[in-house]
Symmetry: C2
Subunit: 353 residues, 2 copies
Amino acid sequence: MKLNIALLAGDGIGPEVINEAVKVSDAIAKKFNHQITWTPALTGACAIDAVGVPYPDETHEICMKADAVLFGAIGHPKYDNDPSAPVRPEQGLLLMRKKLGLFANVRPTFTFPSLIDNSPLKRERIEGTDLVFLRELTGGIYFGEKGRKDNGDTAFDNCVYTRAEVQRLAKKGFELAMTRSKKLCCVDKANVLETSRLWRETVQAMEKDYPEVTVSYEFVDAVAMRLVQWPNSYDVLITENLFGDILTDEASVISGSMGLMPSASVGEHTSLYEPIHGSYPQATGLNIANPLATILSAAMMFEDAFGLKDEAEAIRAVVNQSLEQGIVTEDLAPKGTKAYKTSEVGDWLVANL
Amino acid sequence: MKLNIALLAGDGIGPEVINEAVKVSDAIAKKFNHQITWTPALTGACAIDAVGVPYPDETHEICMKADAVLFGAIGHPKYDNDPSAPVRPEQGLLLMRKKLGLFANVRPTFTFPSLIDNSPLKRERIEGTDLVFLRELTGGIYFGEKGRKDNGDTAFDNCVYTRAEVQRLAKKGFELAMTRSKKLCCVDKANVLETSRLWRETVQAMEKDYPEVTVSYEFVDAVAMRLVQWPNSYDVLITENLFGDILTDEASVISGSMGLMPSASVGEHTSLYEPIHGSYPQATGLNIANPLATILSAAMMFEDAFGLKDEAEAIRAVVNQSLEQGIVTEDLAPKGTKAYKTSEVGDWLVANL
Ligand SMILES: CC(C)[C@H](C(=O)O)[C@@H](O)C(=O)O
Ligand SMILES: CC(C)[C@H](C(=O)O)[C@@H](O)C(=O)O
């Protein structure tokens, strides 16, 4: 199979972790007889530095032509303390999501038996956790009208959703639930927000099309609690953009394996795969960042974008092996044991595939 | 001293836990020579049942005339599955906050040494946690214009903040930080929202008036993570209404003592004290609910509304004693040990004051 992949390394440790994901993907391609064409493109702070905007048109064209996008991380400390700077890396991220129509962010949280003791939660609370958030990614308060009035003394952000936007996200949620344990939780704040009431009534109306799926409705504040108390009571959760931003990040730390969590953003024109961790500026260039989340994102890409399940499984299997044998970067190496470099982990995976 | 207190027991277990708080408060008043006048009033589902609205004008007048309000809990399952019912208990809560001008919700999270093993977090993560959220309570997306367009197919909620609203909340935050460790964290989403940028610039401009306070700015998604990872790294946090709703609930479960957490809402006309737990309908009338959060809310009332610090300390001391001696309701009683009834806990506290 010919795989045409746009490669957006981004900022900070992005290039380093992407590098290892490319190595592992190329090794898989060789083993399974595929041919990958990687087309690199700029995004984030490095794009601002090079061409003045964080998501250049050229990058957009490359993404649109590709079969899938593999993405590293964006963000640079020089933009951190001034969220009102006229040009910022995050704008590139939001523009990319919108222009590529990536309306569903798929964020799994699961545990690795060998890493469970890294969790801030007690073992009995986190064990068995295997949940997936579907976060709406191109609507809501992120993209509604925003601005100032009264000489700048009043600010507003409008949160808007249409029934069609809710339906297409919820449809993915129901379909995903059908492939798992047939449990779907719709997270909203329907006791306060009109957009949430639209979410709830839309999902309720879709229940009859998926009679096997058991749907529950929970308020976002209650979910923020239960995620810490009984994360293993959840399976598939669907929610709007801002709630998803907060809850998926909360969910990502409970497993103790944040450095390993992959994600996908799927939608109208293409799909994009990225680690959930950030650009980790302090580690840039040190060859110490954990590449596994990006490598597992590549596995998601093989499976979901190309239907190559065996290839994905082969990657996951060798990652598990590396964890069990302690071939890990310093974030995962127990005190007093050897920590491997980013590139050493990638090399080991390639050698053991 | 004469203390004139409005008593809003509310729904579910509200009346039972309020009853114990009244017993303890009366005992304290007797001991310290104060005279409390309690004026009961209806709110919540019980008010809807009695007079058709969840926050009757009569209740509002009683609250306005009182020196402080002690509040139980509201909410009834018959309204739970239909968040778009025309009249709902929560509307009473929102109306009450708005009409009483209760713009700052004070939500401490702290640990009790004897209960630390109830936390879902590992001991080393939660130990030493002692933080306070100040949540803005009368603005933001809760109270902005909301509605439908396009025959109901588009819903919107407007989030609005003025500089003055941010200033009065932030002022309380700075003042509280000055009485504690002089650390203030402003939680926002300034990389996306215009209202958050107003929050951030307003707080930044106030820094010079409190040169001793160290202020940090963190995005809401990052705080949702760190609250689970390193809750004891926080002290005073200020945030807007919706973020506060989610994060204070998340914070409430990490200590393992949710049934004990008190809260205050302060503002223009009066102040209100309430446990953070809900109306716990399943337990209604069974005399099993934990009254300690309400009793500790009464302690907050003595201290903050009336400046009666010794009285507050006396309540806290006897509550600690009851915990240490295991005079606790079933939610806190370890398996195989005796669980006390709601009223027995209150009686024990009164007897041991
Ligand atoms: C960087 C920021 C704009 C972004 C978001 O809020 O969506 C990030 O937090 C994320 O979740 O991908
Ligand atoms: C019941 C609901 C409207 C309320 C809120 O969202 O403010 C509650 O969750 C709270 O935090 O007091």
